[in-house]
């Protein structure tokens, strides 16, 4: 599979915004997951409601592969500038694949308080190897990527987002 065959990130974000907008409430807050999900949430935010509270979440301390691979190389600070208690959280990630990152994110959020609701928005729903009973509420595109490839969002020097395929060695 080649990068050129992938959908454009900005198109997917616009599509997600259209899907999400009808369900926004006064209690909704936007939380991007590091790193791709933070970039996507930053773009979604003005399209949804610029007044909506908006934060970022790092899941390094909640991952389930610490025993195997240790601490993630790049830990980023979590920044949630609002009370999590009672909020409708709209969790944003670039790619949903095994579901393990989303599991970790939900555990992390609960250590900040008890949200009323968590919903998941992803640019890409990568099918084929879901390992937990987790699915997204809002999806930009459904994609099957060969097992030897990894797909994620990148941001270039001009702050342009695009999807990128990487061959796993």
């Amino acid at each position: 599979m080649l990068d050129e065959s992938l959908p454009g990130a900005d198109d997917l974000i616009a599509q997600l915004a259209a899907l999400i907008t009808p369900s926004l409430t006064a209690k909704t807050v936007l939380v991007g997951m590091h790193t791709g999900g933070v970039w996507a949430a930053d773009r979604l935010h003005p399209l949804l409601d610029p007044a909506m509270p908006h934060g970022s979440l790092d899941i390094s301390f909640y991952r389930d592969d610490f025993e195997q691979i240790g601490l993630h190389a790049q830990v980023k600070p979590t920044h949630l500038p609002f009370e999590v208690e009672g909020r409708d959280i709209l969790l944003v990630d670039d790619v949903l694949y095994t579901g393990r990152s989303v599991r970790a994110a939900m555990n992390a959020l609960f250590d900040y308080g008890r949200p009323a609701k968590i919903r998941l928005a992803v640019l890409i729903d990568r099918v084929g190897d879901r390992q937990l009973p987790i699915q997204a509420d809002y999806v930009g595109a459904v994609l099957a990527v060969p097992a030897h490839q990894h797909i994620h969002l990148i941001q270039d020097d001009a702050a342009m987002l695009s999807l990128k395929l990487v061959n796993l060695t």
Partner: protein, 316 residues
């Protein structure tokens, strides 16, 4: 083969024994990780599950309150089980050797030892002795090193000053007996601080201290001039009985940090102290409690830095 006993074959940290010889990138990685743990300390549930089920032994052969407590809090916030042992009061007084004590604790399925000992090199000896899956953190050995204190001091400087490459840092006081000063000097030079100064009477400086990459001053006025960071060392009362100093009053007069002496430094200089403080000996209360003091933030940051070190070690 990597000959640094602290690093594994991949160059990752296996034990933390001294800052001497650790690459700058590794120190920066520790600080970046600690930044992530600052957020954990602000969560409603101040705990993450990283070290769930791990047993961390605080092996303190020398009394300590702050260091032992902050290690304990850090380990508990990582969800580890913490066992505190004040060994001066137990087996060693019954004649058990250090390594026998360690072997017995390893047989209790220890995953990590945090070691404080009056003898320089004690943590190294334990690190060389233990099985490969056990990690050792030096929490202060004799006059040699206190690496987590050095790291938390650097983390504090980074928080307040942002960068290291343009700083002038002055360390004041009993450098001779201070493992904290040694760890700070190694860290500051590794991080590229262009001007590291020590200010002390000759009797409280090690011979050839210049070879560590510091400039030596014997008076506060010239030593503090243009300093961005002033680190005051604790003057251990027991030194007063030796030939090192005439009296605490005389020391305070020449080297105690007062508001008047602090005025020689830059107006935005921060004042640090590793604790415990002797007010009126090495530092005046008005400075210790003043607006330039970051002594209490140092303690808070110490928890995040120790969480970073312990989680990095346990994952490697």
């Amino acid at each position: 083969m990597n000959r640094n006993p602290q690093l594994n074959a991949d160059g990752n940290l296996r034990h933390l024994l001294t800052i001497d010889g650790l690459p700058r990138a590794l120190l920066t990685h520790i600080f970046d990780t600690a930044d992530g743990f600052i957020a954990v300390n602000e969560q409603e549930v101040r705990k993450v599950p990283l070290l769930r089920g791990k047993a961390i032994f605080n092996l303190f052969f020398e009394p300590s309150t702050r260091t032992r407590t902050t290690f304990e809090i850090a380990a508990k916030r990582l969800s580890a089980d913490v066992i505190n042992l004040n060994i001066s009061a137990s087996s060693q007084s019954k004649g058990e050797t250090l390594l026998d004590t360690v072997d017995n604790l390893a047989a209790m399925q220890a995953d990590m030892f945090i070691v404080r000992h009056a003898q320089s090199g004690a943590a190294h000896m334990i690190a060389r002795h233990v099985a490969p899956h056990i990690h050792v953190v030096n929490a202060g050995d004799g006059r040699h090193a206190h690496p987590t204190q050095g790291l938390l001091d650097m983390f504090t400087i980074r928080k307040y000053k942002g960068e290291f490459h343009n700083l002038c840092v002055a360390i004041v006081g009993d450098v001779l007996h201070s493992r904290v000063a040694r760890s700070q000097i190694h860290a500051l030079t590794t991080l590229g601080v262009p001007e590291v100064r020590v200010i002390a009477p000759k009797t409280l400086l090690p011979t050839a201290v210049e070879q560590m990459g510091v400039r030596v001053f014997h008076d506060m006025e010239s030593g503090l001039r243009n300093a961005d960071v002033v680190i005051i060392l604790r003057l251990q009362n027991e030194r007063m009985r030796g030939a090192h100093l005439p009296s605490a009053q005389e020391y305070f007069k020449y080297y105690g940090l007062t508001a008047e002496k602090l005025a020689y430094a830059r107006p935005d200089a921060i004042v640090m102290h590793p604790g415990p403080m002797n007010r009126g000996v090495e530092i005046d209360s008005s400075v210790a409690d003043g607006s330039q003091s970051v002594i209490l933030p140092q303690v808070t940051y110490g928890i995040a830095v120790r969480m970073a070190v312990m989680s990095m070690l346990a994952g490697n």
